[in-house]
Amino acid sequence: MTVELGQISLMAALLTALVLGLVPMIGTYTGNRRFMAVSTTAALIQCLLLMISFGILTAAFVVQDFSVEYVARNSNSLLPMHYRFSAVWSAHEGSLLLWELILAVWIAAVALFSKRLPEVFRARVLAVLGWISVGFLLFILLTSNPFGRLIPSAVEGLDLNPLLQDFGLIIHPPLLYMGYVGFSVAFAFAVAALLGGEVNRDWVRWSRPWTLIAWAFLTIGIALGSWWAYYELGWGGYWFWDPVENASFMPWLVGTALIHSQAVTEKRGAFGNWTLLLALSAFSLSLLGTFLVRSGVLTSVHAFASDPTRGIFILAYLGIVVGSSLTLYAIRAPKMIQGGGFAGTSRETFLLINNLVFAVMAAMVLTGTLYPLLIDAMGAGKISVGPPYFGLLFTWLLVPMVLALPIGIFTRWQKDTGSRLAGMLRWPMAMALVFGAGVWIMEPEIGFVSAAGVTGGAWVIFGSIFYVGHLLSRKNSLKIPGSVLAMTLAHVGLGVFLIGLSLVSTLSTEKHLRMEAGDKYQMVDYTFEFLGTKIVQGPNYTADEGEFVVYKGDKEVTRLYPQKREYAQRGNTMTEAAIDPGFTRDLYVSLGEPLDQNGRAWAVRVYHKPFIRWIWLGSIFMMLGGILAAANKRYRRKMPATKPVNTGTKEVTA
């Protein structure tokens, strides 16, 4: 019976969402304050109902209720307890429920933490979010109900996909969805501003902390996904330009453009329409991503459960949400260019470069992702667009962005002079060139492109740090504004990421070997000795576990134990790579197939990956920067009406 309660709770959430979408919206047009106040109650009740619903599905996994079809298909009596929790979102139905739960949490957060906003505006924002929720709940209830019964009940479950039996997968989807779904808040703010005809800079200031938090979650969510692919898939890669990865990357790119253009609109009033459009696009691309992943339109290594009828539903939903918001934009967006003008050399120009680069990157990823579909639609056959296309275009697009970034940080709003900038930027530029040249001399095999990448990363890092130094020396005090620290942290993160990316893409060594017990293999400075394999019994799998001793010279560095697991219930085999992580290099060993009858000889893959950790370290910095920026005190002050524009030479930080 309990499972049916979960479904009833879901239906009640749909009704609540309808109330949330309708009543406050009517209130804003009739001026009925009680109607508008309904928004808070409805938002909180909806959140509670979804928590109940989600809790009941989780409970069904914990107690192993195999009379529920979704549980029977994604769990097994031998599944360890912690995976029973993550199994809830391991397949289509449950991940949609998680998506919706997270949306409800965001809505409740907006209801709780936006009491300072003008009443009408706040009611509109919540009502728009209510409509988004209605669509998604309908989608779950009509096409993807996770509470369906299996009659007769299964005796044993099919087990969780072993790829997903992993710590990374426990936290990767929730964080990613926090980001995806979080952009709905910026979207709702933009739509509310358009509806009210109040497209000034207020809505931008109010929506900034929400956008930053969503962006921070998306950043870390994508980074975790890449880390998971690296250690779990067993072939040492960290990014595959797979349609599903692209689906999460497009909102990130647009979101990055958005947080920068919001800065311009808030501070200077410029780029107003552009900021609106980016806010609408970031969430639209999140929905498009959901469509691509769930509809089976594109084939992908991530294709868990895809189904064209679900595709039609999401497409209709996407069409309504995005189509109506863009129509609203076409009707209501201000016709006049707002905000102060700016000179060629000004911070506005540099942020414009940022926005153009990120928008072009997003358009390029979208094109590359949909191109196979277009070719197929024209009947010209099946192709796939892979790393060569994306890698090449990204490298070239990064050039203007990286060059412009530190200059932009130093440049004043409105107008600045090249000579002033040149004076301040001499040193970081010189240091970056020396650093890049030094790395190239030490590791000549990285080649020009990677050396340039390292130089670019160093240029971003030194430029960011010099700016902090510049502020300190000018102010003669040790207090640095939180927003500058946040910006510096995120930009240093980008620099670290770029250096890691450049080095790992050229310095990595990998070797596929046939190894018998006792064999040794020398890679770079390390000697890998294979001692043999033994059988290991896990809770729901049996594994061949290899043992490798790694020496550097005569000194033992580490012992690695890669596994080849067989999961009994599904009959899947999984490679569990063994990794010795390090700040400057990872050692990575994975077991392939046994090559003879008695299990002495194995196919073994050995990798040496220098600086790969820097990719994720940089992403962590970026996320922390985003959170720090959102935590800025000025967002928590009472929201005043538009205040006068900062003028003069005072440097205001983005």
């Binding site: 298909r73 044993e156 087990d159 339109v297 064209p308 595709g311 039609i312 076409a330 009959g571």
Partner: protein
């Protein structure tokens, strides 16, 4: 023209493309088979792992059965294996594994390694029967009714949705009808 309309127009073009994409995704999974409602092609094949034994179309008459074409070389067959296993566990329908274009030793090892969901496996070594069935890719699955007529065909990986929405209801129908 109003430039603020461009984003909307761009989006409409995108939706058009996605609609076509959905059509394609749909067509890929719903190729009609000329064999539906036709009698099962004749076969008389050796049984895997029991030398000397054979099984023919005639000996299977009188009960509904599923013919699942597979081979140890077929990656997708590995992917659909858990679904076939689960279906076998339900004991709802007799499952004939049609091992085609495969070495019997490989096929036996495959079944030993991953588990054998089939009530019987037949050896279609040269793939001649698979041609009669119109199979051009593995896996492919046919549902046959007690009179020996093909009532349903699925191309590609068998999913639980197909088992539940297409196969099990048809089997239940045959049993209540006979």
């Amino acid at each position: 023209m109003n430039s603020r309309l461009f984003p909307l127009l761009g989006f409409l073009l995108l939706v058009g493309l996605l609609v076509v994409g959905l059509k394609i995704a749909d067509r890929k999974t719903n190729l009609p088979s000329p064999l539906i409602d036709k009698p099962v092609p004749a076969f008389d094949l050796p049984v895997l792992a029991s030398p000397g034994e054979r099984m023919s179309k005639e000996s299977l008459l009188g009960k509904p059965y599923l013919v699942n074409f597979w081979g140890s070389w077929c990656v997708t067959c590995r992917a659909e294996h858990p679904v076939v296993t689960e279906l076998a566990r339900l004991n709802a329908v007799y499952i004939v594994g049609m091992n085609f274009r495969d070495e019997s030793t490989d096929a036996i090892a495959w079944l030993k390694r991953w588990g054998n969901p089939y009530d019987v496996s037949l050896i279609d070594f040269d793939g001649r029967v698979s041609i009669d069935f119109g199979v051009y890719a593995a896996p492919e699955t046919f549902l046959v009714d007690p009179s020996g007529t093909i009532v349903f065909k699925h191309l590609g990986q068998l999913t639980w949705e197909v088992v539940q929405n297409e196969i099990l209801p048809r089997v239940a129908n045959m049993e209540s009808g006979s």
